[in-house]
Every structure is written in C-alpha cells, then in structure tokens.
Amino acid sequence: MPEPILDIRGLDAHYGDFQALYGLNLTLAPGEVLAIIGSNGAGKTTLLRSISGLMSNGAAQIRYRGTPIGALRADQVASLGIALVPEGRQLFPSLSVEENLLIGGRVKRAGPWSLSKVYELFPILQDRRHQASTSLSGGQQQMVAIGRALMANPDLILFDEISLGLAPIIIRDIYAALPGIVGGGMSAVIVEQDISKALSVSSRVYCLQEGRVSLEGDSATVSRDDISRAYFGIA
C-alpha cells in the first residue's frame, strides 16, 4: 500500500466541554474515494471540519502527506491542497456566482481546474455567472460550492452531504459529475446520508457512531447487516 495521503490517528475533537470525536483512526490512499456514513450527530461534519482546519486538534493527530496538519489554521490547510465543500453549501451571499468561484481559486495552486473547466462541468453556471449566488436553486448552489472547491485545484476534496435537501433528479446530476472530478486522481472523502449512493461512488467506507469508527470496509463487499449494526448501534 502506498503512503497514505491522509493519515488520522487518535483524533479527538471537542466543542467546549463536549467531546465529539474519540480517538478516531482513518487512512486514505492517494486517488482513493472514501465514503463516511453515520447517523445525525455521529461526528461526520466534525471530522471534516477537523481535517480542513476549521477546528484545531492535536498537530500529529492528522497527517497529510506525512506532515502533521492537525493544529494548522484553515487557510494554511487550504494552501496545502485540501478543499472542503461544506454542509449546507455556504456560498458567499455578497458575491456573484463567478466571484464565488474566483475566490475559490485564490490559493492559486496549479492544476487542471479553472473557471472555464468548471463551466464545462456545470454549464448552467456560466449562464448565471453574474447573478447573486443566493438567487440560484439549491442544486445550482451546490454546483457553485463544488466548483468553488475545485478552483483551488486540491489534491484532496472533502464533500459534506452534497445531496442534502436536493431533489433526486438533481442529486443524480451532481453525482454524475463526480467521476469527472475524482477521475483525475484527486482523493476524496464523501460524507453522505444516502448509504447506497455512498457505497456506489467509493472504494472504502467508514461508519461513524457517537464519535467513533463503528465499521470500516470495502464498499463493494460490505454487508448491509454490518452497516445497519454499525449505523444504529444494534449489537
């Protein structure tokens, strides 16, 4: 196995007195697509916030290409090549669609993604590029959020529930775009409530439960029973 691009060992995360993650371990190989599932409040978003630097953790608890990044700020992590598509999209309301994309490209990393590539992936955004980002439909906003993350040309992209609140047909469109994104060798962590969606796009899956890994397996072979047990904690 090649050296992991992301290596998480004994990750703890806290919100004040409340502990949200307990000694979590997780590895991701370069180019791999990993799915994270788990019920509400399991700690999925907390995990992605920790990786992306929005939460500060013990430095050595998260290693990226061997470098400890657990204690870095989000802007420092971003410049190393990790991008987050946050839960709930979180576009900048004062910025137009195109400005949201441009600011994503601010870290100026070299790579295949550019404004025109993002418009190629999501043509509708080009027509809407001067509109306020808030005037778009939920699905289009999600496309902007994904495009904004791609503009940084990350080596590792983190998706937090990109299908949340979207109509099935829109979800299908967005997932149809995924191979075009990760096919280029980008590594990805996909947090997803829809288990069959999660399994179909990933090679390995982790299930979180109350801040701990309750299951780790190959997406192709993991059994539904094991998942339900890991998901709901039925022993």
Partner: protein
Amino acid sequence: MDWVNAVIQGALLGGLYALFAAGLSLIFGVMRLVNIAHGDLIVMAAYLGLTTSVALGVHPLLALVLVIPMMAAIGYVLQRGILNHTLGDDLLPPLLVTFGLSVIIQNVLLEGYSADPQKMNGGALETASVSVGSLSLGLLPILTFVVAVGVIAGLQWMFYHTALGRSFRAVSDNQDIAQLMGLNKRHIFGLAMALALAVTAIGGIFLGIRTSFDPSIGGGRLIFGFEAVIIGGLGNLWGTLAGGVILGVAQTVGAKIDPGWQILAGHIVFLLILAVRPNGLFPRVSA
C-alpha cells in the same frame, strides 16, 4: 441667498464628515468592529500631518504622501497586534479596548503636543474662493468634497471590482468559509484597518487645514462620522457620503438659525432619521 449658501456650505462640509465616516463604515462592514478610537486616530493623523509639513517645510496636502502610508502601517500593526485578539462572538471586548486606545492616544498627543490648539498652514488654499453666481465658495471645502467623492468612489470600486474587495466581502459574509478559501482573516482585517486609517489620514489633514485642533476633539469627530454612517445606512459607502452631507447641511442650517444650534441641529436630524428609518436612509440591500 443666505440660506442657499448655508445649504451648500453644509453639503461641502459633509464631504469632510464622509471622510471621517468612510473608515468607520469599512471596518464595521468587514469585521463588525466599532472603533471608539476612530476620532482620536483622525486627530493623530492631523498631528502627524502638522509635524511632517513643518519638519519638511511642505504644504500639508503634500504631507499626505507620507502620512497616508504611516497611518496605513499603524492600522495594520494595530489590528494584528491588538484588535484581532479582541474580535469574537462578544461585542464588548473590542469596544472596551478601542475605548482604552482612545484614552491612550489622547494622552500621548497631550504629552507630545500640549493642549494648545494647533492648526496646519494651508497657505493660499485656505482663503481662495470661487464665485458661483452670487455665491462665493471656498476652494478648500470644494476640494475636500471632491476628494471625499473620489475616495468613496475608489473604495466602492475596490470593494466590487478587485480581488481584495472580494476578499473583504467574503470575510464579512462568513469568516470560517473565507478561511477555507485560503484567506487569513487576521491579515485581511489588518489590510482593512490599514485602508481605513489611510482614509482617516486624508480626513485628519483636511480637518487640520480647515480648523484648529487639539488632542481632545477626537470624540466629536467620532460622533460626526458615526452619525454619517448611521444616517446613510450601514454598509453603503455612497449612503455614508449622503449621510455626511445631510449632517453637514443640518449643522450649517442650524447655525444659521442660531449659532449655538450648529451641533445640536445635527444631532436632532440624526435622531429624527433614526426614529423614522432605524436602518438609515440607504441600508445595503441584503442579497
């Protein structure tokens, strides 16, 4: 004709108030910081202008070439060294710290320059005037107003057409997500304060050419700037200019009725507008 004159003089005075207000508006917009020391920083800029122009024997407006970068540097260091540490969910710490800063600046100026009123020598600019019909308008107020319009237009352009402005708006919208874009908010806040104090430098020097000043007048300038921002509507730079003009006109018209009424008339108009339009006349339309 006297009344028309009062209104026009007031409108031009509004340019000066807009210069006081623009920096306040900018930093409140970007980082939700209410800078109580803003007026004292204006006065400090006036003293820096005085010292520079006297030491180098140059016109105060030429001293701007040095005072603008000085104030900008002070702004960046002040923000990164002190103010950034006060920002958070609680609005009180920045208020208290900038209040303390206001007291410190006043005392330092008092030590360095004494309480005696000082004035910058604007030379012929102070008395030059242009006749418009039967009105005679001072060149200095006109120049102040033109510069204020230029500054507001420049800030507006920077905000909506440059990468820096985009970063300011992004950080203002959502600090966490902006950090994800590789923006270090501490640095961005430092740049915003630098820009705000660069504008303050211009306001301070025009103030110091127009009237005499002493270390204690910062509070009044803060209030005028603050009123201009609120009248115009938070987060709207052109509104801030309009707010300054309204305040200036209220003051000169008030003074025309009774010289003792100048300041009071401004405050009354401010309160009336606040009562009728609590968000100011031109609040930024939230997207």
